[in-house]
Amino acid sequence: MKTQTINNKQELAEETQRITGSEAIVRSLIAEGVDILYGYPGGAIMPVYDELYKFQDQIHHVLTRHEQGAAHAAQGYARISGKVGVAMATSGPGATNLITGIADAQIDSTPLVCITGQVFSHLLGSDAFQETDIVGISTPVTKWNCQVTAAEDIPDAIAKAFYIARSGRPGPVLVDITKDAQVTEFDFKYKKCKGVRSYNPVPKTSQEAINAAAELINNAKKPMIVWGQGVILGQAEDELKAVIEKAGIPAAWTILGASAIPTSHPLNIGMVGMHGNYAPNLKTNECDVLIAIGMRFDDRVTGRLDAYAKQAKIIHFDIDPAEINKNVKVDVPVLGDSKESLGMLLEALNQNSHEAWLQEFKDLYAIEFEKVIKDDLTPAKEGLTMGEVLKQINIESKGNAAIVSDVGQHQMIACRYADFNVTKSNITSGGLGTMGFALPAAIGAKMAAPNREVVAIIGDGGYQMNIQELGTIFQQKVPVKIVVLNNEFLGMVRQWQQLFFDKRYASTEMTNPDFVTIAKGYSIEGKRVTKREELADAVKEMIASKESYFLEVCVEKEDNVFPMIPSGASVSDIRLS
């Protein structure tokens, strides 16, 4: 499959040199500014690894312990840095092991370039050893993919891959390269891709749409903002903050939007969705204008669609035209890049404040605090809660840590209670809900941002899905902090079994190994906490550590996460117990 780079606008970067396809791959990555990539070698990608060996002073390859770990590490790298993450694997099982990470990146709009080796082109379709149709398999979960069978097509394919991965609404791209293309010599010249004629990554924001949005907002009595990751991907945090402050609008976030505005901001009213905060969920069905910014009305956010914000005029800012009216019919769509469109909106907004309306959120927060938050953060009972662990981490990290969470109860607790002072600090698998995400993603995040404190918060279930990546932490000396909140259950599934399946705990109870001993096997300092009086010191020791550190906290076995919007219920039906 030839790529259509003939039509692309390109710029000249280097002089022509006669090299092999595999050297061209490595030089192309370096030309795209790649300093770290994650992967695992194997037969069909060995020529590229041979070149990585020669170029190791310019590009650092991190050997993960599983290709899934490589994909998630590349995601963590991309999410904290805003740069394109790169993962590499061999053909067949190497390539298919990347798929979960690619699917995760697709649904969470994470820029990723995955390079896979492929059998010789003359063997394609012959069921050769380790041959799999990875282009076919990855098609539904990639923004774009292609197979390269000729060395001379490599630079253009990689240039196009990086351009597509990072531009517009970002996403994962896979380039599959046959072994003969890797070993053939050709005249190499790298030109960065500047455009693809069939692809319009950033629709232009129309002034009319901005005016219509501003008129609704300026006349609103009870406006409410829900922002998502689009604000972070568009680097529009400052513009969002200015909009919120100028118009005095209470603003809530989706799970992937977390940290774009500091937790402590007086107009930050918390998280929407199934385990989000009480006030923003209830007020969704009371506001008169709902302003959605860079979010996609996921079912975990909206609950029952025919009872979602029916009373409100809805304004939807998004870069992706396919998101407009996809789930929720909107009154004013505003297409475009969030930084540009929020900048234009700011100009058109009147200075305003909505004190009485904001007070209603505060009153509901007080109810949630009394019924839920108080018991989560300062429990009176004997057993430890997940919430109090998060509270200690907030205290010790002063809210400056990047929190990488896995999937389940601990994830909801982490997103609800972590303090975020800095943007790009909540790294979690949102759309796909991939257990096993956090440990490898934390590796990628820490390597991309070595000066930041990176704390992985993981359940005992998800931890064991990619626990092999402790080997990567050990070998690469990644000073990542690992917190396992151990309730000896697949907690979220158990919570549903308790609430909706009459406590039939089918296959959710776990007999766990000695996690501290396992960590010590990888020379990672570790501690287990079972009592409240040990917790503060242990967290302090962990955060103070200059090296990787493992902390297991044995928490109450059968705690539930509340508030909760039961599946299929309206946001108005949010339960506090």
């Binding site: 499959m1 076919g136 098609t139 004629r197 069939s198 396919a322 009216n325």
Partner: protein, 177 residues
């Protein structure tokens, strides 16, 4: 509010790319939408392909589907149209035993009256070709079926739209960027 299900012709202009057929058909498959017919060919612009896809669905869903198709990197532009907004046709072929052509004079009348073309005749069989609307093809098939059809095949719909689809302008705009 229940919306009517109608027949829509979706026209997609794309770069000439092998993988794109997979991407486009997956959009329908994921949503359990049956494709009535799908035809792909060269378009009026060199190097640009055109898909003509016929589906039965609500207009709201047709709109959503078209935007999902347009979201694919190698899609230049996609549109949906009702039957009234397009000129469309299908094509079909019949393979029939040659002896019937001489034994059954009625067949010759059918061929003349239905504006059907004889492509080839040999000792064993002859082949008829007809283009037209589905009901015309169906009526011809019923008429010929009485005498026995060795093979029958019908193509998917091809269609042009009454309104303009400004693909050349789009491509020129990109080149001038």
């Amino acid at each position: 509010m229940n919306e009517d299900i109608k027949t829509f012709t979706i026209s997609v202009y794309t770069e000439n790319n092998i993988g794109l057929l997979n991407r486009i058909s997956a959009i329908f498959q994921r949503r359990h939408i049956n494709i009535e017919s799908l035809t792909t060919s060269q378009s009026e612009i060199d190097g640009v392909n055109r898909f003509v896809i016929v589906v039965n669905m609500t207009e709201t869903n047709a709109n959503k589907i078209v935007r999902q198709i347009e979201k694919q990197v190698e899609t230049i532009k996609a549109y949906y149209h009702t039957n009234e907004e397009t000129i469309f046709t299908e094509s079909c072929m019949f393979k029939i035993k040659s002896e019937l052509l001489f034994d059954e004079p009625q067949i010759q009348n059918i061929i003349k009256e239905s504006d059907t073309r004889i492509i080839t005749v040999n000792k064993e069989f002859f082949v008829l070709e007809k283009s037209g609307r589905r009901h015309e093809i169906e009526s011809l098939r019923r008429d010929l079926n009485v005498f026995g059809i060795m093979q029958f095949v019908r193509s998917g719909r091809i269609a042009v739209t009454k309104d303009e689809m400004k693909i050349t302008e789009l491509l020129t705009a990109f080149n001038n960027q």
